[in-house]
């Protein structure tokens, strides 16, 4: 059996396009992360999505969908303009929208995490992120009877900050949020960030996992709270 060049050309295109089409039919053609945070394994809200696993790459529309929150509240809290505009803005974009604030204060992804955690009445112990006054107002308007712990937090973590309204230009390193553990970080990166294997073992309470495994997948596999492990590792990275 002989093949001609034009038959080869057609064969290549058919196999590739046909293969992709079949893979789509079996839901195997996935080109992006599904942007779903891990679920809390224990404590208050066990079984619900962990707000502290919200990543900077999540858009406010995705956050609103996953956590079943009205996007107008998010838009109002973080001064994101109208709802349509807010949908496309990513959590990490807040840093540029709010710019540099006094005393190195930052409004960013962690502010969104805390805001969502309070909205969903989940545990916020260990958090230290600041919130703009507008977010605090939304939280109190939605539920004036927040717990004592939350009210104290809001009192001490609010800042007069205003979004400049400009959607930021793409950042030089879109998938990096500095030297911090996020949902994608592997143990080899944690080591590169300066944390020793012994320190990792102490935090996870077990033997050092394979370095090519992500912290998040290890926590999910072993029933550990990713947000707690992440916090503990981040404390070592940025003492």
């Amino acid at each position: 059996m002989k093949l001609k060049n034009n038959q080869i050309g057609v064969l290549i295109v058919i196999i590739l396009i046909g293969g992709i089409y079949i893979a789509k039919g079996f839901d195997l053609w996935v080109t992006e992360s599904d942007k779903i945070p891990v679920k809390l394994s224990e404590g208050i809200g066990a079984g619900s999505y962990d707000p502290f696993d919200i990543r900077g790459s999540y858009s406010f529309e995705e956050i609103s969908d996953v956590f079943e929150m009205d996007i107008t509240l998010l838009a109002e809290a973080f001064q994101l303009g109208d709802v349509e505009e807010a949908k496309g803005i990513k959590s990490k974009d807040l840093e540029s929208l709010y710019g540099e604030l006094e005393d190195d204060i930052e409004i960013g992804n962690e502010s969104v995490q805390v805001f969502v955690a309070i909205m969903k009445e989940l545990d916020i112990s260990g958090s230290d992120a600041m919130l703009p006054v507008s977010a605090v107002q939304v939280l109190l308007a939605e539920n004036p009877n927040r717990s004592e712990e939350v009210l104290t937090y809001l009192e001490s973590h609010q800042v007069e900050a205003y979004s400049n309204g400009a959607i930021p230009e793409i950042e030089a390193q879109t998938d990096s949020e500095g030297l911090k553990v996020n949902g994608n970080t592997t143990f080899s990166q944690v080591i590169d960030f300066g944390v020793s294997k012994q320190e990792i073992e102490a935090i996870i309470g077990g033997k050092m996992p394979p370095e090519n495994q992500s912290v998040r997948s290890y926590c999910t596999e072993n029933g550990l709270s990713f947000s707690e492990v992440k916090e503990a590792l981040n404390t070592l990275i940025m003492p």
């Binding site: 059996m1 002989k2 093949l3 001609k4 060049n5 034009n6 080869i8 050309g9 064969l11 290549i12 295109v13 196999i15 590739l16 293969g19 992709i20 893979a23 195997l28 053609w29 996935v30 080109t31 992006e32 992360s33 496309g88 803005i89 959607i167 230009e169 793409i170 030089a172 390193q173 879109t174 998938d175 994608n184 592997t186 143990f187 080899s188 990166q189 996992p209 394979p210 370095e211 090519n212 495994q213 992500s214 997948s217």
Partner: protein
């Protein structure tokens, strides 16, 4: 002869069209991704990244998937699907991914056309044979290094030196400087040598090259009708000695089929792509 000239031109275009099509497709995906990240871009194309449509990403993810059940960072199942399809094509036809699809290969060929104009018959013959033969092993070393380092870290380390990623992202500010340097060196090299990246450094080419020993459709040269004009050798971008081989199973062949009677060989049915015939 006039008829043969016209026919050669027409058939040469088929591979060119396929190459151009894939080059444009990848360009559009890369540009769309950039716009999506800036809040615009087309939803029809989704916001797939280059990593998600690179079959080599599937290859370097295998170890991670087997050991910790995770993809390497930035890699998704689409890369694994493409890896499978490219392996299927390679088993059938040899590394047609290199010769017909890879946009970096196409980019080098385009620059090579300029090199051919400048240097005429001297083009692609600058590297001394022994040095060339020695350097062709480098890409296997690169393959071993990439697989080892990706397996160890779970990260797409190769991106930092990958000229393919640099070619389709140079405007984003996301490309590591060493990848840009390698891209520029590859482009300059392609003015003198056909497909220098493919020949000496491409890890994926090294892997797919092994398919040449098992491919179903092989290239055969009929010694009885061959007139020893050497045109097949001159047309081969990878400097394979087609004129003295009965069957082309050299690991460096990229299945471009430029040597075939349909493309370059002036004698009909002398260099052909066949299955099951000798």
């Amino acid at each position: 002869m006039e008829k043969k000239g016209r026919s050669m031109k027409k058939k040469w275009r088929i591979r060119n069209v396929v190459q151009l099509g894939f080059f444009l497709l990848i360009s559009v995906i890369a540009i769309n991704k950039y716009f999506v990240e800036n809040g615009s871009g087309s939803s029809i194309l989704s916001s797939a990244s280059l990593h998600s449509v690179c079959p080599f990403g599937g290859v370097v993810s295998i170890y991670n998937l087997l050991t910790v059940g995770d993809y390497v960072q930035k890699i998704h199942s689409s890369a694994l699907v493409l890896m499978g399809l490219v392996f299927l094509l390679s088993i059938l036809l040899g590394p047609v991914f290199c010769g017909w699809i890879c946009p970096l290969g196409t980019f080098q060929e385009w620059i090579g056309k300029l090199g051919k104009r400048i240097f005429k018959k001297r083009y692609n013959l600058f590297v001394p044979k022994r040095l060339d033969g020695f350097m062709r092993y480098f890409r296997i070393l690169v393959l071993v290094w990439v697989i080892y380092i990706t397996a160890k870290t779970g990260l797409l380390v190769f991106t930092n030196v990958d000229p393919y990623y640099a070619l389709f992202n140079f405007w984003t500010g996301e490309v590591a400087i060493q990848a840009l340097v390698i891209l520029v060196l590859t482009a300059i090299g392609a003015l003198f040598v056909e497909r220098p990246w493919c020949k000496y450094l491409c890890p994926y080419g090294a892997l797919l090259g092994f398919a040449n020993s098992i491919k179903i459709f092989k290239i055969y040269r009929d010694e009885n009708t061959c007139i020893s004009c050497d045109l097949c050798n001159q047309s081969c971008p990878m400097n394979i000695d087609v004129a003295n081989s009965k069957k082309i199973s050299q690991l460096q062949c990229i299945s471009c089929f430029e040597c075939s009677s349909e493309s370059t060989c002036p004698v009909p049915e002398t260099v052909e792509i066949k299955w099951g015939e000798k």
